[in-house]
Amino acid sequence: MVQQDPAARSDRVLEVVGVSKSFAGVHALRGVDFELRPGEVHALIGENGAGKSTLIKVVTGVYRPDAGRIRFSGEERHFGNPLEAQAAGLSTIYQEVNLVPLMSVARNLYLGREPRRFGLVDVRRMNREAAETLARYGVEVDVTRPLRTLGLGAQQMVALARAVQIEARVVIMDEPTSSLEPREVATLFSVIRELKRQSIAVVYVSHRLDELYEICDRVTVMRDGEIVHTGEMARLERLRLISLMLGREMSSVRDKGSTAFDTARHRQREGVPALRAQGLAVRHRLHDVSLEIHPGEVVGLGGLLGAGRSETAKAVVGALPTEAGTVEVAGRPLRRRSPAAAIRAGVVMLPEDRKVEGIIPNLSVRENISLAALPRLSRACLVSRTRQDEIVDFFIQRLRIKTSGPDQKVSDLSGGNQQKVMLARWLCLNPEVLLLDEPTRGIDVGAKAEVQALIDELARDGLAVLLISSDLEELIEGANRVVVLKDGRVVGELEGEGVSEQRLLDALATAPSHPEDAEYAEYAAPEHEEQPGPEEQSGPEGHKDRKEHRE
């Protein structure tokens, strides 16, 4: 695919040859070859865990490669740390801006190389030049303000301006647009075009396909630590791009996959839905997402990384502050929005990140299972050990949790068994609605099949299930219906015979992107507004909606 023309070798500003890296025996990168030409914008894409960030970290000196070579500007270089890389002309702009939030904008721009006069920092000159520089990046602000008072987009521009000023030859942008507003994206793109004219190469990591097609010249697709494709961006069809990322060959969609789901499950969809969410909006993440799940139904939530799947689940249970939208459980509106209130109403969510959001690492299996149910297992505030043991033993047996006993520390269990403990925590509450965010990620094959069979069984027992999974096969075979999300919006729904990998890939590839002006209008609100901080808060709109429902 890539032309290995020896004459053009000097034309590579960055060259990665056969780089491998593994962590504790797990291969994160396997013989990766990657090259970057001056003045090109090169898209680097792949799902979670594909190895993109590992590759970036190896190149910029955060990690040492186990094998392979890295050539920068024609000579072999292994940077000891990102600062060294930056000094050599290889700058990285991370999703989270890594500047000094309390220092002024100008100081941040010139940090470490301030213009001096008589040995002291020439503040006046620094401020003047900073303002001139930033104006070119579309940031017109008082440069003496602390950086953190700027919007995230403007902060990112400052980081970018700083990177370019240090005479960068390569700029790596890790999801630069994830927190930008549309017009900031437009500015960013014009800056990137300017970089191109200066022959600066850009590595562009993003999940927003539209952006990739708009700004990138070439593309490299990674999967499971390997490069699966490199070529011209414009010549790679969307559908092909997605199937490359997900590792599914379009031609070989099988009738019956390898999951443990019983595909012949009957469906019922009458009466009041167990869960109805309408018009959910989360700042920058979700725009008007609605969905319904009936008792006994498994609804899949499809979409690429960053489409807003986890955010939807979190918004439903009130773990993310919503700007608008209502949630009804069995026809009754959920007024207070917090995980506790959702649980009381019978809606529970298995979070995606088991370690951070799920397990209580130092507590025992028993306590982790019974954590949410404690008030129900208690009389006069005293936990009844008999009732606790009853329920814990029941679930250890039912879910076949492999543990030396209920007293074992939960963090000593394997990933699959930890996941079963999490499921047990929710099932012992007898929920009506179960939201599962990547229930089988990172667990072994056996546990995976058990969890899938359990989902089936629960749905047959009348539970309403929302299934979020990056595993296409799991989604297709596990769900009766699949709601497809893209950029925080519902862009399609597959049902009945329409639930197939082909259709899902189609929906992901062809879904219309929303016109920028529509989004612009939505964002025209005041700029530096803070996220509503404490839990259980929601915007004034949400409040109004809820009132209406009460009447």
């Binding site: 995980p339 649980i343 959001e357 397990i359 209580i360 690492p361 130092n362 949410a372 208690s378 936990v383």
Partner: protein, 321 residues
């Protein structure tokens, strides 16, 4: 071969570490007590034991509340000032009888704790900052209430709490023993106690599991405040006067020391009630032994510092170093 012996050694080290973490403080306490008795047999005299208990009991009561707060990954620097506030308020309400006065004093402790807890749980101020501000402000308030001078307190019931005996053991120690039992029950057996530990271990997961995170946090600081107020009353009874500018000074540090030496990790997620008791007794004992053998106070302090460092080192989990 060598790899096997290495593995065995590593395993032994892990087990030793575990034993040290779990039972080290009790063993050290027993050992130190034995040393104290061997060095000076009069250490066992009723008079000396009583004197030691009277000194350590208020610290222990405060440390119990501190252990709960630390279990939530917090810290409460305000307890010393709450002691002073309780001492200042107590004489004003003696007219309502002992029970009335006790109710008011404990209420003052509860409100102080609620203030700190609300700052932590609702305003999301870091615990150290929230309680630092209270530590400064409440002592000022106590001084204002008391007019900046010590007042004699001659009430019989308060004196009984401070220096009285029951079955040969100081009354305040009986009260403290009751507190220990209650707190131990609270931590081990109640919904609240288990939620507290879970929140200290992983707050985000606890919130997603529907635990009442804010309510638990506020309650923990309220308990700490109430226990500090109780300790304040004990100190007033002991010294038969109320002087808010000196009473309870540095008690927050003694309490934290007791908790840490007792093996409760500052990272939260675990509360060791009996360990805290042992920690408080140990620190009291070491000070007493050094004092009785005329070691300069400066050296005493250095030795205490070494003990604290060692306790923190020993309490560290495997692999986190």
């Amino acid at each position: 071969m060598s790899s096997i012996t290495w593995g065995g050694a590593a395993l032994d080290r892990a087990r030793t570490r575990h034993l040290l973490q779990e039972y080290g403080v009790y063993a050290a306490l027993v050992l130190l007590f034995a040393v104290a008795v061997v060095l000076n047999t009069s250490f066992l005299s009723i008079g000396n034991i009583r004197a030691q208990l009277l000194q350590v009991t208020p610290v222990l009561v405060v440390a119990l509340g501190m252990a709960l707060v630390i279990g939530t990954e917090g810290i409460d620097l305000s307890v010393g000032a709450v002691i002073a506030l309780a001492a200042a308020v107590a004489p004003l309400y003696l007219g309502y009888g002992f029970v009335g006065m006790l109710a008011v004093v404990l209420l003052v402790g509860a409100v102080s704790g609620a203030l700190g807890g609300a700052m932590v749980a609702f305003v999301r101020v870091q615990p150290i900052v929230a309680t630092l501000s209270l530590m400064i402000g409440l002592r000022g308030l106590a001084n204002i209430i008391n007019g900046n001078s010590g007042k004699p307190v001659t009430d019989g019931a308060v004196a009984t709490l401070g220096i009285g005996n029951f079955l040969g053991v100081p009354v305040m120690t009986w009260v403290a023993a009751g507190c220990v039992a209650l707190v131990a029950l609270l931590v081990r057996r109640t919904t609240f106690g288990r939620q507290l530990v879970a929140i200290g271990d992983n707050r985000q997961a606890s919130r997603l599991a529907g635990l009442p995170v804010r309510r638990v946090l506020v309650t923990v600081y309220v308990i700490s405040g109430v226990l500090a107020a109780l300790a304040g009353l004990m100190l007033v009874g002991y010294s038969a006067e109320s002087d808010p500018s000196t009473v309870g000074l540095n008690y927050e540090l003694s309490a934290i020391t007791a908790v840490v030496v007792g093996g409760t990790p500052l990272t939260g997620g675990r509360v060791r009630v009996l360990g805290t008791v042992a920690g408080a007794l140990f620190m009291q004992l070491i000070a007493a032994v050094l004092q009785q053998h005329n070691v300069y106070q400066s050296y005493q302090q250095i030795i205490e510092a070494v003990i604290i460092c060692f306790a923190v080192y020993a309490a560290q989990e495997r692999g986190t170093r």
